[in-house]
Symmetry: D2
Subunit: 346 residues, 4 copies
């Protein structure tokens, strides 16, 4: 098979650099062009010295990337992917967008949380919200792939079997998530300055994080009715990893066994979702550097609560790995192609 | 004033060592004897080299400590404080117990969770659950001071104004807590081996942690009726600090302003509880090495939830500092004596 | 005794904030004014929330600090302390400068490494290089106190007994130092962005660090002849602490015992310098948050090398703590006043 | 090509687990059996949950591994590889030993530092010290491959061009190394308990580390005459990575340019050794999770010193990755087969 010519727009951000790292060993993809507004003209390895002698690409601009490539991965601040998508559609190129612009089906939900209108409303009909485990079929023919956010990925996989099988109530869902610092990006902020972050921990954007409507869109779709959630993220002093602890109330009469069975059934054919043995706990270290989502189930039957702990590597299953998984689906490749590296145990 | 002769039983555990560190600079207390079963006969500074030339105590046994001292701080595995308490009561010495044996007023709640009966049931009438901000008066005359657990301290202070003022429902309380690794103690385990803990994160003992009945005892007392909670702790890769994110449902018609006002009123005279300005987040780094509890309030009014983030240093306000605060109260000293060090900012 | 009115110019940098933290509990000093160019008019607790309700100072400008205070601590980029010193001298106020401007006695050595001439050459006659353990007498009458750099403090104390007693050669001295990230300051850089610093380690400014001439000045003074050193600092992924491993060649016939004896003699009356028992290793954790310098001695007699490991808290003995130690000396107070807190063991 | 049947003796240690992780994606090797004394009969994924559903091997004993496999990787405490080697030689199987037993050509040097005699002296004639960049030819036909230690790998590559080209003196070589905590292994010790290791740093075994004779063996071989070194390792609070800063004195008249040229020439055809551009610094983060060794060159010409900073991932190039590199060489495979993953940038 001829290699897919892939390009990365925004290659010097963390998600972009992670795409480079993963695509370098993809057997059917070839990185053909990469771009960066800030570093145009420089070499990627000047920004990321780990790539020295391995990925000696010169950073170009996004137009060049679109021209040279079949698939364009974009990792841009919200608002910038819409004009890029227009060019891709015109050029007949596939866009896999890791940003937020093409995740919401409802413009109002988007504009309420992102505080801007769509600049290209007509493009959104081409876009698919691309969480493979839930929406694999739609992805196969999408022209624009809206790659899910990191938190929503961890949450949707944690909740899916419960809502799909009507085992838990759609009200009162509490999501307490913790993310490693790469989730905040490469840009400098006081809050991610080493001495301010190390040995520190706090919540942020409680009830206000922009991933909330994305989570609610998916949960509503699974439940078949509007679902709202209380979502509170926290900044975790590690480089990588998201853990989401989801609290839900079981429907009357639902047993532990039914819950466990529902998760087993839902994920028995999903190679990237692993269910922990009852009594064990999902831990971000067990999925580090991999595309796996580990899920553990816990119960507080005194209060009729099921507690789901879900972990992913925010840069892989939460961003670049899932984007490649989507590319594989779209191109009819085995879904795990190039992203089957085992997690790093320490 | 003559100095109080204080002794520490279990001085080589983390809480014991922290007591030593703090008591060394207490103006009205003098460390008179320290004990350790494991290291009896050795010098404390052999176990904790930071104490070299500063706290050159020889580790003795607990009987000697009781004999030499007026106040005995004990930090022991549960079950071991009851026989110690008997000796203290007999000798007319004050016991400040940092363990779990004297925290529960209801023996059944204790035995349900700790899987043992009281060995000295008659002693418990002398014991007071000693969270100063809630039970200051009782502490003044206690013969046995049951120093609260770390998680319960962070939670009780987070919830107190809400339940006391009947602003939030007593049902459906979710507590998602995260603790630094010192909370697991000095004993070696695979789960606290550096390469297994660093860059890792997971929940543990979800719905099963022994601090649950202690939390429920306090919340029930505040609410004036039985309260149960869903409590899930997590292990945080930092040395010190607990953050508890508490999710509660507001009673009908309760406003943000009422909630903020209730917290202001509750804590305006409490020097060790600080309320964050609305919009800021409590962070464990801001209370590190201090006896403060910082609290921030957040709201998800779409779901009628109040979210309280509460942080303490688990070794200070969550253990040794609060024990000294209790000693101060019991001896009529200004409550902040010896524990007013500012938090370490980085 | 009436309290000394102290002020801090540059109070929002890390060293400035540490001065505030330590001076808050100094029994004979009172923080009277603090300044910041960047945050003038704001409250210090807005920049450092750990100070909320504890140190609610409003940031003023440096002129106000000089006017209101008896002692001015300054922590400024090099070049800015000279004009400040002029104003202090004119106003008859003591300047304790934590910057680099008043550390060198030889202007040429300063200008060679700092690439600027003195703007106020006439002031330098008032300045004393204030490493208390070596230059205590001079400090007692200084008008300008040049507080030593962090690396030079750790190195000078490691080398002093060896050179003073002519036990080791003055040639071929190798200094391999490692510093926690607070040493780089509060300003944002890519190299101190959490995901770039965490799990990372490298040397920097090998053979080029500006602390080199300061180290050489002190070592030359001890040796009574010009000494040059090879000094390579490294960035250590911890918040606080410096470890310097110093490699020196023993003079012919010098024994281990002589070396140990020389260190014992040199520091037996120095309360802030602790010598490890032979076989133990100095560790930054044992001096954290304290003014101690711990030193351990090691030998490679196959190669006739003595290896000295010296550790300090870079923010305390390496900056703010030593500055207060110097103030105490200057004011005839017991040297340890306000800075005798035991190290934090974990 | 038929896959090589590989087995791992000591698969539950850190190096063993890393071998599993890397071999899982090796295109020409198949993990056929793994063993562990402690966990025999259990599944590897019970010890390392990251391997769940990926490497569901049952742990057997070493005899079974030898029987089933063509190549036996062993990662055992010293003294245990000799009897294993005897069985491998008898069975005609290749042993790649990651332990210390087959690294020294001189039994006396081994017994002086390891405090034991060889139990099977006759086997050592089959063994090759297998640092590929220096001894590639010998490895091609070895029956026992003595995989180098982690520190010696970082040091030998740092020193090789200097000694080979007679650019630096063989006397006075100082090696200051820092290793991540995985280097201490999976066994529990107080010194690697999280709260004791985190935010800590110290030297250990100064002048006494058992990697010293191994370093000296290689350097003597390069120089063609006996070389001794002063070697001081330090424990670095990160999971992975070794940085060695090597200080050497240039021979008279040697210029920077000559040094740089020598390194370029030595490594221009070595794909796993990367030379930093002058002015940049080797950083452990740039080689993390990869088989690369990055080297940067620095000069203190005032003291005629060249300073070489060399970094590797201690678990990959310092252990498992290099072992696979050696297997590839031995089997005539392209040397990079299965170990060409790019370093993880964050």
């Amino acid at each position: 098979m001829e290699k897919i010519k892939v390009g990365i727009v925004g290659a010097t951000g963390y998600a972009g650099a992670e795409l480079v790292r993963l695509l370098l060993t993809h057997p059917y993809a070839e990185i053909t062009a990469v771009s960066s507004v800030t570093y145009e003209g420089k070499k990627l390895s000047e920004v990321y010295p780990n790539f020295k002698e391995i990925a000696e690409y010169t950073l170009e601009n996004s137009d060049t990337v679109i021209k040279k490539c079949d698939v364009i991965f974009a990792s841009l601040p919200h608002g910038l992917s819409e004009p890029l998508a227009e060019k891709c559609i015109e050029a007949g190129k596939l866009l896999i967008d890791l940003g937020a612009d093409f995740r919401m089906y409802d413009e109002k939900a988007y504009s309420d949380w992102y505080k801007r209108e769509y600049s290209h409303p007509n493009l959104h009909k081409y876009a698919v919200y691309a969480l493979p485990e839930l929406y694999r079929e739609k992805i196969k023919t999408a022209k624009i792939i809206g790659n899910p956010g990191c938190y929503p990925t961890s949450v949707a996989l944690a909740v899916f079997p419960l809502l799909k099988n009507r085992l838990a109530k759609t009200e009162g869902i509490i999501i307490d998530s913790k993310s490693g610092v790469t989730g905040s990006g490469r840009g400098l902020t006081q809050g991610t300055h080493y001495p301010d972050t190390n040995e520190a921990f706090s919540a942020y954007k409680a009830g206000e994080h922009r991933h909330t409507p994305e989570i609610e869109q998916t949960l509503s779709d699974i439940a078949g009715k509007p679902v709202t959630v209380t979502f509170v993220p926290h900044l975790l002093p590690v480089n990588r990893g998201i853990e989401s602890t989801v609290y839900m109330t079981l429907n009357d009469g639902v047993t532990k066994e039914q819950v466990v069975e529902a998760f087993k059934t839902a994920y028995e054919n999903e190679q990237f979702v692993r269910l922990e043995t009852l009594g064990n706990y999902a831990n971000i270290k067990n999925v580090r550097m991999s595309n796996y989502c580990d899920i553990s189930l816990h119960f507080d039957m005194r209060n009729n609560h099921v507690i789901v702990s879900s972990v992913i590597d925010n840069m892989v299953k939460g961003a670049a790995g899932q984007a490649i998984q989507n590319m594989n689906i779209r191109f009819g490749l085995p879904e795990e192609t190039g992203i089957l590296m085992p997690p790093q145990q320490f």
